[in-house]
Symmetry: C2
Subunit: 106 residues, 2 copies
């Protein structure tokens, strides 16, 4: 089964980055007990003050899709939406490296 | 000390993505013994067949800079360069989340 990854770029409305960051950190904390969520890191952009990036890795595309359907996720999205000016995402397939476990032993 | 992160987008010359991926996976394997390298994941782009993304997290900006000066890194870059059509990077500051350890306990 292939892992599924995403770089999600959130542009906050002016002055709302830290409030949005707090919601995303809550979602990350909730994901601690979700085995299928392997990585959920909140990052500040280095050069764009209103931008947050979330680095996500899930055990499969289906696990990610299932997470979006959870009540807790939908509630978090509902709270975050008023703070967000825009979202873009880059979908990726992790194939190996340091920091995660890959079934091919890499 | 703040972590330092980067999304590095490598566009391979046509047909060279897998050869480039192999070099990057070797670099990731070499990083297994480098404590300051917390994440070094090679990813295939979902929609662009010549594109690889590398997700990197280092314990500090200085640790990342030091890694670039190592003979092994320079040798890998030398082997990779002929395979690469372009590189872009997005520098980020990881602030919390699941999958890494943050000194603020998040």
């Amino acid at each position: 089964m292939s892992k599924f990854g995403m770089y999600a770029k959130f542009t906050a409305k002016p002055g709302e980055r830290d409030a949005l960051s707090a919601i995303l950190l809550e979602s990350a904390a909730a994901a601690e007990v979700v085995a299928e969520c392997e990585l959920y890191i909140i990052n500040h952009a280095e050069t764009e003050p209103d931008v947050l990036w979330v680095t996500e890795v899930w055990s499969s595309r289906e696990a990610h899709a299932a997470s979006l359907a959870l009540d807790a996720t939908r509630a978090a999205i509902g709270r975050a939406m008023p703070l967000i000016a825009g979202v873009e995402s880059t979908k990726i397939q992790p194939v190996g490296g340091k920091g995660l476990t890959f079934s091919n032993g890499i």
